[in-house]
C-alpha cells in the first residue's frame, strides 16, 4: 500500500519522538532442536527506545528443560552472561518439552512440541524482479505431508552471516503439495546477494504456536506502519515474560549463488 503511494510522491526523514519509558519485562528466547549443540536460552530485559541496541542480559538464572514424555530434566548452564545452554541435549520429534526459568522470585514456564521432520529437498537461487529491482532470491523446496497443521520456518545466512528477515509459513493453503517457498527480501544494493556468495538456509519444522508467534511478531512488532494495532507477539511463555520457547527440527543446506 505504502509502496503504491510512494509511486506518487513521498519523502521520509528521521524525527525525534519522546517516548515514555515503561516497566521492564523479561525476554526469553529459548531454542531446542533435534540436533545437539543448538540448545540455547537467552535471557534479557526490555530497554528504553532511546537506549542502545545491546542486550540487557539477565545473569544467574536457573534454567531447565524437561522432556514430558520421559520425565528427564536437563539443567542448563550459563556459558556467557545471559546465555544458558546444554551442549549435548537434542529433542525427539513427537516429544513435548517444558522450559522452566527461575529469575529471583519469578518463575516462567513454556511448553513446545517438537514436530515430525519434513525433508528439505532442494535449495536453489533464482533472479527475480520486484518493483524494477533485480534480486537473487533463495528457493526452498519440500513436500508437505498429507495431514494438515505443518508449520515451517526458514533462516537464511549469506557467507555465514545470519539475515534478520523472518520467513514462516504453514500448510493452510498448500496441504500435501510440493512447495517452493521463495525467501522474499527487499535488500539495499550493498546487502544484495552477489555471484559467488554462499547462501545457507536452516529449514525448521516448528510448533504451530511458534508460527503464531513469528507471524504476529512480523505483523505487529517490527515497527513498520502497516499494522493498525502494534502489539507484542503472541507468546507461549506463562508467567508474564515475553519471547518464546521453540522445539523444532532443523535441516541445513548451502548453495553458491551463480
Amino acid at each position: 500500500m505504502v509502496a503504491a503511494a510512494a509511486m506518487l510522491q513521498s519523502c521520509t526523514k528521521v524525527i525525534d519522538i519522546k517516548l515514555k519509558d515503561a516497566d521492564k519485562k523479561y525476554v526469553i528466547e529459548a531454542t531446542l532442536t533435534d540436533a545437539p549443540g543448538n540448545c540455547n536460552v537467552l535471557l534479557s530485559k526490555t530497554k528504553n527506545f532511546s537506549d542502545d541496541n545491546s542486550m540487557n542480559v539477565v545473569t544467574s538464572a536457573t534454567v531447565s528443560i524437561t522432556d514430558n514424555n520421559t520425565g528427564v530434566v536437563s539443567m542448563l548452564t550459563e556459558s556467557a552472561p545471559g546465555v544458558y545452554n546444554d551442549a549435548t541435549l537434542a529433542g525427539i520429534s513427537g516429544h513435548t518439552y517444558t522450559l522452566k526459568v527461575l529469575i529471583g522470585s519469578n518463575t516462567f514456564t513454556a511448553s513446545s512440541a517438537m514436530p515430525q521432520k519434513v525433508a528439505f529437498d532442494t535449495l536453489y537461487m533464482t533472479s527475480d524482479e520486484l518493483f524494477g529491482d533485480i534480486n537473487k532470491l533463495a528457493n526452498v523446496e519440500y513436500i508437505d505431508p498429507p495431514s494438515l497443521g505443518h508449520c515451517y520456518q526458514a533462516r537464511q545466512y549469506v557467507n555465514g552471516k545470519v539475515l534478520k528477515d523472518i520467513f514462516v509459513t504453514n500448510d493452510e493453503y498448500s496441504n500435501g503439495k510440493r512447495n517452493i517457498d521463495k525467501l522474499f527480501r527487499f535488500a539495499d544494493e550493498d546487502d544484495k546477494v552477489k555471484t559467488g556468495d554462499t547462501v545457507t538456509v536452516d529449514f525448521l519444522c516448528i510448533d504451530p504456536a511458534l508460527y503464531k508467534y513469528w507471524f504476529s511478531l512480523q505483523q505487529n512488532a517490527t515497527g513498520n506502519a502497516q499494522s493498525a494495532a502494534p502489539a507484542n507477539p503472541v507468546t507461549n511463555i506463562q508467567g508474564g515474560a515475553i519471547g518464546y520457547f521453540t522445539a523444532h527440527t532443523i535441516d541445513t543446506k548451502s548453495v553458491v549463488a551463480d
Binding site: V14, S216, Q219, N220, A229, V234, Y244
Partner: protein
C-alpha cells in the same frame, strides 16, 4: 403488511379539519435540462413544503388565492400565483442562476438549511457548490469535500475514506441512487468512486437519520445521480493531469425521457507504458468508471428510472502480482402518484463488490476471489396527509450473498484450490414516520424502524470459548434459519423556532448494523473483509442523542450551526492480537474481540452561501473511545480516529466574470496511535515492546490548498474553463506514517522515521461543455 398498517395507525393523531382545503401537487424541474429539483422550498405565507428526492411536492391550502414562493440553491427564485378551487396539479419550472449571464455571482435567496424542519445533523452538497474547491490532482470529489464539514473526518492524507462522529469507516451507509456501495474508493483511497459529473446532489446525515435509512451506525451518504437532460443534447467533459472524463446526455423523447452516460478513466499507467524499462512498463495502476441512467415519463402519474454504475481498479506489479477490484450497482425505480397526497416509489436494487488477486511466483500460482452481492427490494409511500402531518412508510428486504474467499490454482501450483463457505442473510425492515407541525413554532418527527436480520444456511456455524478456540460446530441446511436478530430502532426529532431566523432542535436515533468490515491495516484496503452478523458476531447498535442551535445572520447571508452529540455504541468489533483475517478457516470469529464504544463532541459551522465571497469555517471538538475485552487491560482507550480538534476554512471569491479564486486551510490533531514503550532483541533483530493501545498521537496536521478557475468561454450553449490547483501550497510535510527501525547510520541505535506523501502538488484541468 398488517403490521405496517398498525404502525401507520398508531402514528396518527389526525386533527379533524373543518375548513375546506385543497391540495396542490406536482414536480419541480429545471428549465434548461428538465432535471427534477430535490429539496426545493415552496413557501405560502407561513406554511410550506419541500420537494422530495424525485422533485415531487404536495401542499394543502385553503380555498382561494395564494402566492407560492419557490426557491432552491443555484436556481432563481420564482413566485407563482394560484387560485385554488379544487385539487390541482402544477409542475413548477425554475431557471438556473448561471443561465442569467449578466449576474454571475450566486444570489440565491434560499437559506440552505431549513431553520424550521426537524432534521438535524444533516449537510447537503451539490456538484455546483464544490466546483471551485481545490483538490488533490484537480479531481473534484464529493467524498473529499464532505470531509471539510464538521463531524466528518478524513481517514488520512488524500483519502476518500472518512469517519463520522467517532464511528468507524465501515459505519457509513453510502448510497448511489439507493444502491449501497461497499467500497467507495479508487486507487487505494486517493479517489472516490463518485464521478462528480454524474452526480446531482449529496446529503449526509450525521445524526437524526430518518427512518427510511438503516443498516449502518454512523452516517448515511445519500448520493443522487443526474437524470439526464430531457430538453437537448449535451456533451461535456474534462481533461486533467491524471484522468479524463466525458459526459453525454440528452432527450430520447423531448420532455418525456432522457439518458445520461458518464465515463472516467485515469491514465497514470499510460506513462508507465512509455518507460523503456520492462520492469516498470509491465506495472499497472489505473481505474475507470461508468455511470449510466435512463428515465422515462410513462404518464402524468408514472415515471421510471433505470440507473447503473460500474467501476474497476487494476493494480499490478509485473507479472508477479495483480489485484483488481470494483463495484457494480443497478437501480430500477418506479414512481407512482396515487393522488395529490400519496406518492409511491418502488425500487429494485442490485449491488455487487468483488476483488480478485493473482499471484504467480514460481510454484505459487493462484487466484483469490471474494465477493459481496445484494438484491434489494423497497416499497415506500409518502403521504402528505394535511398541512400539519406528512407521513412516510415502507418496507425493505435485502438478500446478501457473501463469498468470503475462493482460491483457484493450477494443477502444478503448490497451493490447493479451496473455498470458504458462502454466507447468506436476509435483512428486512419496516418503517413509518410522521412529521407533525404541532404549532407555528414546534415540529416533531417520530418514527420507528423495525429490522429483522436473518442468517440463513447452508453452512457451518461455531461456538467459541474465551480463548478464541472453536468448541462446537453447528451445521445448517440450505434455507434453514440460523438466527434472527430483531431490533426496533426509534427515530425521534423535535424543533422549536424562536423566530424565522433561529431555532433549536433535538434528536434521538438508534441505528443497527449487521454488515461489518474487518480490517487490520492502517489504510483502507480493497481486500478488507465484509462479514455479516453470525451467531457470535452480534449486530452493532448505536444510540445517539444530539442537540443543535441554528441561526441565520445578517439577513440570511450567513448561517450558523452549533450541534453537540453523545453516541453510545455496542458490539463493536476488533481483532485479536496476532489475528490473521486471511485465515483459511470458516470460523473468522476466532480472530475477533468484541466491546463497546462511546463518542461525544461539539460541532460549529459558519457558512456564507451568497455574494462574491462564499465559503465556510468548520470546527469540531470531539472524543472517541473503545473498550474491548482483551485490549489495553480492558480499559477505555482512544479509537484510532480520535482527534481533539478539527478545523477547516473553505472559501472562494469571484474576482471577475472570468476568474474565481479559492483556498482551503485544514488543521487537525494527529490521530491516536500506538508507539513502542521499549525494545528488545529476538532472532538477532530489534523488536518493539508495546504496552497501551493508541496512547500516542501523530503530529498535528495542517495544509493550505489554493485554486483558480478561469472561464475561457461562456455562452448559453458552450462553456469552457481551465482549473488550476495547488495542493499543500506551503509544502508542509504531514506525517502519513511513522515507523521505527534500526538506524541506518548507527546500527546500535533505533530511530523513528516519518513519511510524508504530498507536498506542492500542482494540477491543471480543462473542462468543457457544448
Amino acid at each position: 403488511m398488517r403490521f405496517i398498517l398498525f404502525l401507520v395507525t398508531i402514528l396518527f393523531c389526525i386533527p379533524a379539519i373543518a375548513q375546506e382545503n385543497f391540495t396542490m401537487s406536482g414536480v419541480v424541474k429545471s428549465k434548461a435540462k428538465g432535471e427534477t429539483i430535490i429539496g426545493a422550498t415552496i413557501r405560502v405565507g407561513t406554511t410550506g413544503t419541500v420537494s422530495n428526492e424525485y422533485g415531487f411536492y404536495s401542499i394543502t391550502l385553503p380555498r382561494g388565492k395564494h402566492t407560492l414562493e419557490v426557491s432552491s440553491l443555484g436556481m432563481q427564485s420564482k413566485k407563482v400565483e394560484v387560485t385554488l378551487e379544487k385539487n390541482t396539479v402544477l409542475n413548477i419550472i425554475v431557471e438556473d442562476e448561471s443561465q442569467n449571464l449578466s449576474e454571475v455571482t450566486i444570489k440565491s435567496t434560499a437559506s440552505g438549511r431549513s431553520i424550521s424542519g426537524t432534521q438535524m445533523g444533516v449537510e447537503k452538497l451539490s456538484t455546483a457548490e464544490i466546483k471551485n474547491i481545490p483538490v488533490l490532482m484537480g479531481e473534484r470529489d464529493l467524498l473529499k469535500t464532505v470531509q471539510l464539514l464538521p463531524g466528518i473526518k478524513s481517514a488520512g492524507e488524500g483519502n476518500s475514506g472518512f469517519y463520522v462522529r467517532g464511528g468507524a469507516s465501515d459505519q457509513n451507509l453510502i448510497l448511489l441512487d439507493e444502491a449501497p456501495v461497499y467500497n467507495a474508493s479508487h486507487l487505494l483511497g486517493f479517489f472516490s468512486t463518485f464521478n462528480s459529473d454524474a452526480i446531482k446532489d449529496m446529503t449526509v446525515y450525521k445524526g437524526g437519520m430518518p427512518a427510511q435509512y438503516g443498516g449502518r451506525l454512523s452516517s448515511v451518504l445519500d448520493i443522487k445521480m443526474n437524470d439526464g437532460n430531457n430538453q437537448e443534447y449535451d456533451v461535456s467533459g474534462g481533461i486533467g493531469l491524471i484522468s479524463a472524463k466525458l459526459n453525454i446526455e440528452g432527450p430520447i423523447v423531448k420532455d418525456k425521457s432522457s439518458f445520461l452516460i458518464t465515463g472516467r478513466r485515469t491514465y497514470a499507467d499510460v506513462f508507465l507504458k512509455l518507460s523503456p524499462d520492462s520492469t516498470i512498463n509491465q506495472n499497472r495502476l489505473y481505474f475507470y468508471d461508468l455511470n449510466a441512467k435512463l428515465n422515462y415519463t410513462l404518464s402524468d402519474k408514472d415515471r421510471l428510472y433505470l440507473s447503473g454504475y460500474f467501476g474497476q481498479d487494476q493494480l499490478g506489479v509485473g507479472r508477479l502480482f495483480g489485484l483488481s477490484w470494483g463495484n457494480g450497482t443497478g437501480t430500477a425505480r418506479w414512481n407512482h402518484i396515487f393522488s395529490s397526497k400519496l406518492f409511491s416509489n418502488t425500487s429494485l436494487i442490485f449491488s455487487n463488490y468483488n476483488y480478485k488477486i493473482n499471484i504467480r511466483s514460481g510454484a505459487n500460482d493462484f487466484e483469490i476471489f471474494s465477493q459481496i452481492r445484494d438484491w434489494n427490494l423497497k416499497q415506500e409511500f409518502q403521504w402528505y396527509l394535511n398541512s400539519r402531518n406528512s407521513i412516510r412508510f415502507g418496507v425493505n428486504g435485502i438478500f446478501h450473498t457473501l463469498t468470503p474467499g475462493e482460491i483457484k490454482s493450477s494443477a502444478t501450483s503448490s497451493v490447493n484450490s479451496s473455498s470458504l463457505q458462502q454466507r447468506y442473510s436476509l435483512e428486512n425492515a419496516v418503517y413509518a414516520t410522521n412529521t407533525w407541525k404541532a404549532s407555528e413554532r414546534v415540529s416533531l418527527t417520530y418514527g420507528l424502524r423495525l429490522t429483522a436480520f436473518s442468517i440463513l444456511g447452508k453452512g457451518d456455524f461455531f461456538n467459541i470459548n474465551t480463548n478464541g478456540d472453536v468448541t462446537d460446530t453447528l451445521s445448517y441446511n440450505s434455507g434453514q434459519i440460523v438466527k434472527t436478530y430483531v431490533n426496533p430502532e426509534p427515530r425521534l426529532a423535535a424543533s422549536y423556532e424562536f423566530s424565522e431566523a433561529a431555532s433549536v432542535k433535538a434528536a434521538y436515533v438508534r441505528n443497527v448494523q449487521n454488515m461489518h468490515l474487518i480490517s487490520n491495516s492502517t489504510s483502507s484496503n480493497p481486500t478488507d473483509k465484509w462479514l455479516a452478523s453470525t451467531n457470535i458476531i452480534k449486530p452493532e447498535i448505536s444510540d445517539q442523542f444530539s442537540l443543535g442551535y441554528y441561526k441565520n445572520l445578517a439577513e440570511n447571508r450567513y448561517e450558523l450551526t452549533v450541534e453537540t452529540y453523545y453516541k453510545d455504541m455496542q458490539n463493536q468489533i476488533d481483532y485479536r492480537n496476532g489475528a490473521n483475517i486471511f485465515i483459511n478457516n470458516d470460523a473468522i470469529e476466532t480472530q475477533l474481540l468484541f466491546g463497546k464504544g462511546r463518542a461525544y463532541g461539539l460541532e460549529v459551522l459558519m457558512k456564507k452561501k451568497v455574494g462574491k465571497w462564499t465559503g465556510w469555517v468548520s470546527y469540531t471538538l470531539s472524543k472517541t473511545e473503545r473498550k474491548i475485552e482483551g485490549i489495553s487491560n480492558n480499559n477505555w482507550y482512544n479509537a484510532r480516529q480520535d482527534r481533539t480538534h478539527d478545523i477547516a476554512i473553505v472559501s472562494s471569491y469571484q474576482l471577475s466574470k472570468k476568474w474565481v479564486i479559492s483556498g482551503n486551510w485544514i488543521y487537525y490533531t494527529g490521530n491516536a496511535i500506538t508507539f513502542p514503550a521499549g525494545k528488545y532483541t529476538v532472532n538477532n533483530q530489534v523488536v518493539y515492546y508495546y504496552t497501551e493501545r493508541n496512547s500516542y498521537r501523530m503530529p498535528n496536521y495542517h495544509r493550505l490548498d489554493l485554486g483558480a478557475t478561469w472561464t475561457l468561454k461562456q455562452t448559453k450553449k458552450r462553456t469552457s474553463e481551465l482549473s488550476f490547483s495547488l495542493y499543500n501550497a506551503y509544502g508542509r510535510e504531514n506525517a502519513y506514517t511513522i515507523e521505527f527501525r534500526e538506524s541506518k547510520t548507527d546500527p546500535n541505535r533505533t530511530e523513528a522515521v516519518q513519511t510524508a506523501l504530498f507536498k506542492f502538488i500542482p494540477s491543471i484541468s480543462y473542462n468543457f461543455k457544448f
